[in-house]
Symmetry: C2
Subunit: 458 residues, 2 copies
């Protein structure tokens, strides 16, 4: 097995140029799941993944239709059926690339600058999917697979995975595994391999405020009609108090408190104030009083405005009193908050804060609870040791601010825990312009995954 | 003179169909002054006006270039040079038509539905310009002009008339008149002829809030970076107190108080709460405590959000923490507020309220002070009597919420007062979708202007 391990790692190193070309090909497909005009590109991306699995010689490769974008599945069987089975999760869809004018190169024409590959999805998470595929290719090339692998690559992660639970439910036998690997969680920085043991949940809303039945002249009506943009601003402003706490009624009532041991562990993370200042370019940090940045991002719930629109927003001046105003508002949740309860809390907030001068509408767009997992499981130890081998130091354990609904689905529907890691960096601009994958880390990632698979058999 | 007056009025009645066709031709030109792509259409509209003046046989007709869109001028001389000279003001530019999807017919393909002509500019103010042209055509047809008329039709009213003061300054002799007629002020309703003796001023700003240097993933950074959209909402929310008063420091210090006599007169206006509810479709009214709607719109200053933009505003969900947020904010001013001082007050408000977590930029886009004029002047009496003749009842006197910078320019640069009236109605949707001119009122307007010109000679 030691020979195979070395042989697989050598193969990966020798083929890194071709691996990168294939990643660039994948990134060049604009598989934007939220955009109905990109249906053909979504199908193209699914076929690209399925073709890769077939070329690797995986079995049972298929593109499973869902109510939305399809799921790609395939598996690799070790000769020894008693070896553990790991379910590798990924998604082939990406976020929209807007605002396009802020990209230094075309979002869907991946370009290497410095040590990074730039392109939408390079980090989140086509880079991670291809790293898994190439690690699998390497272990297949090296001989007998040391572990059973199943691959589930969905196309709706960026829109909240609306059809994934249904797919999992319908295919429980197919997906039966000992644990899952979720490489969508990233690393803190290139020299800090990271395992994420908790993920925040998400509840995402669209709030619309309606005032007059039509846009009005702000001179003729300013002063008698409550301006919907002003009302929206007042509602949003009221959602935080002066200590940076969210004011939705009951928002913190189920939040699991941080104990001193966990606070001490999170304090070891290099993500201090300077880290966040450098990575964001913000003039100063902000957040809930009484918590460090790492605690606020990982272990405390937050509420964000993701978008806001009202009235005249072009160049120049238009003296309009707008008929409506809209905001996209989302909350990041921690154990044991429930997205449905947060929806009800926001409804209650609006009921008690909306003036009679306007009418509000609230849509609940996507949601999923937070998850926290065992830091000493079999799978986590295999990943921990693989990172130790490749980086020469143990990984950090952190709580991640983002949300991965699939982790809770795997737990609830398949009864398995996930090992959450990944080889994108925190400054990778996921969801923003100039998304990038740090390539030296990506190559270390492929090596880590190879060791991880062999560690499972040891 | 009585014969000419009757003959001119008869001519206008007999030619009303053709007059309307010409108005529709004028409205069909998308002369949007704020849009750099509409330069050719702006020139076309200026030529359209100049051609009309030439066809009427006016003298000195010319299109005067300015630093922006040109000014059209022409004059009509009475044989008796001692007759008064009235300077008729108008503008051939219009507001943008956005949001286009809310128009029931194309904004620039004028359409008659019911008693109204629908199209951008039909009311504000191409309808009023054409009413003046057709009244002049009618008095020319009836014989010797009873008055000297000068016409100044500019192309930058909707962008704050940035080049008009310069033009007036450079052409004081050309424009020398006894008083001005400004038909851009409108009527309250079809059965309420109206003379506007006060206009609010305007100070219009664009406020931009910058946070992180680029859009961030709201999961990875939500809770450590102050969201610019949230900061903008907080800044806007703080601009009013819970009594509906504007909180900019010193905002009310120069506001001329309303005396009891004027409050009694404004109380005669039919623009009560029901009027505003019906005309706006708002669920309930709003505004500064202690003042009636007519007082709040006409005699009290206000602050409005005209537009707001940040982050992701398309369909669906994107979990972005936006790098910036923008609002268009304008104030309507009353005597004796100064737009420059209001700019300084907003700067001071931002200095004292902006957190260190963001950086703000404030642009002062357009501005002009309020104006209030003599209700018993020669010109006002001529208009008052003309309305009495046509409607069979005296006009209402009101204070208008909108802003007409040219009125203050004429006062400051030419030393003349303006008679502010017009034949658009308060529900004409100026600046909004489905702008309309009520046609029976438009025809009464042409008749009123004919009587007005003859009244000046009596």
């Amino acid at each position: 097995m030691a020979d195979s391990r070395t042989s697989a790692a050598d193969f990966a190193r020798q083929n890194s140029g071709r691996f990168l070309e294939e990643l660039m090909e994948f990134v060049s497909i604009p598989s934007i799941s939220t955009d109905p005009a990109r249906k053909a590109e979504m199908e193209l991306a699914a076929r690209w993944v399925a073709d890769q699995l077939k070329e690797l010689g995986m079995t049972g490769v298929d593109i499973y239709p869902t109510g939305g974008h399809p799921v790609v599945f395939g598996e690799l069987s070790a000769n020894d059926k008693d070896l553990p089975t790991v379910l590798v999760y990924g998604h082939y869809d990406v976020q929209p690339a807007e605002p396009l004018d802020l990209w230094e190169s075309d979002a869907f024409r991946p370009e290497i600058r410095g040590y990074s590959l730039y392109g939408r999805g390079a980090a989140d998470m086509k880079g991670q999917v291809v790293a898994c595929l190439k690690a699998i290719e390497s272990i297949i090339h090296a001989g007998e697979p040391p572990v059973n692998v199943k691959l589930l690559i969905e196309g709706e992660e960026e829109i909240g995975s609306p059809n994934l639970a249904g797919f999992i439910n319908d295919n429980k036998a197919l997906l039966k595994s000992d644990f899952a690997l979720n490489p969508d969680a990233g690393m803190i920085a290139a020299d800090f391999p990271t395992i994420t043991y908790a993920l925040r949940g998400l509840a995402y809303f669209e709030l619309r405020v309606y005032g007059p039945s039509h846009d009005l002249h702000s001179g003729s009506y300013g002063g008698v009609v409550h301006n919907p943009a002003q009302v929206l601003a007042e509602l949003i402003a009221g959602m935080h108090d002066d200590k940076g706490r969210v004011t939705l009624p009951g928002f913190y009532s189920k939040v699991r408190p941080l104990d001193e041991e966990e606070r001490a562990e999170l304090a070891r993370l290099p993500t201090d104030e300077n880290f966040y200042l450098e990575n964001t370019g913000a003039p100063a940090l902000w957040g809930e009083e009484g918590y460090t940045p790492a605690e606020r991002v990982g272990a405390r719930p937050t509420l964000e405005v993701n978008g806001m629109l009202s009235g005249f927003t072009e160049e120049g001046s238009k003296t309009v009193l707008p008929a409506w105003a809209m905001a996209k508002i989302s909350t990041r949740l921690v154990p044991d908050q429930d997205p449905g309860e947060v929806h009800a809390q926001l409804q209650e907030y609006l009921r008690s804060h909306t003036p009679k001068t306007v009418r509000v509408e609230l849509d609940n767009l996507v949601g999923g609870p937070a998850v926290i997992s065992d830091r000493t499981s079999f799978g986590v130890r295999a990943m921990q040791n693989a990172m130790q081998t490749v980086w020469g130091k143990p990984p950090l354990f952190r709580r991640e601010g983002g949300s991965v609904p699939v982790v809770i689905m795997f737990k609830n529907l398949l009864g398995i825990e996930s090992v959450n890691c990944g080889f994108s960096l925190l400054d990778c601009n996921a969801h923003g312009p100039n998304e990038k994958q740090h390539l030296p880390t990506w190559e270390k990632g492929i090596a880590t995954l190879i060791h991880f698979f062999y560690n499972l058999a040891d």
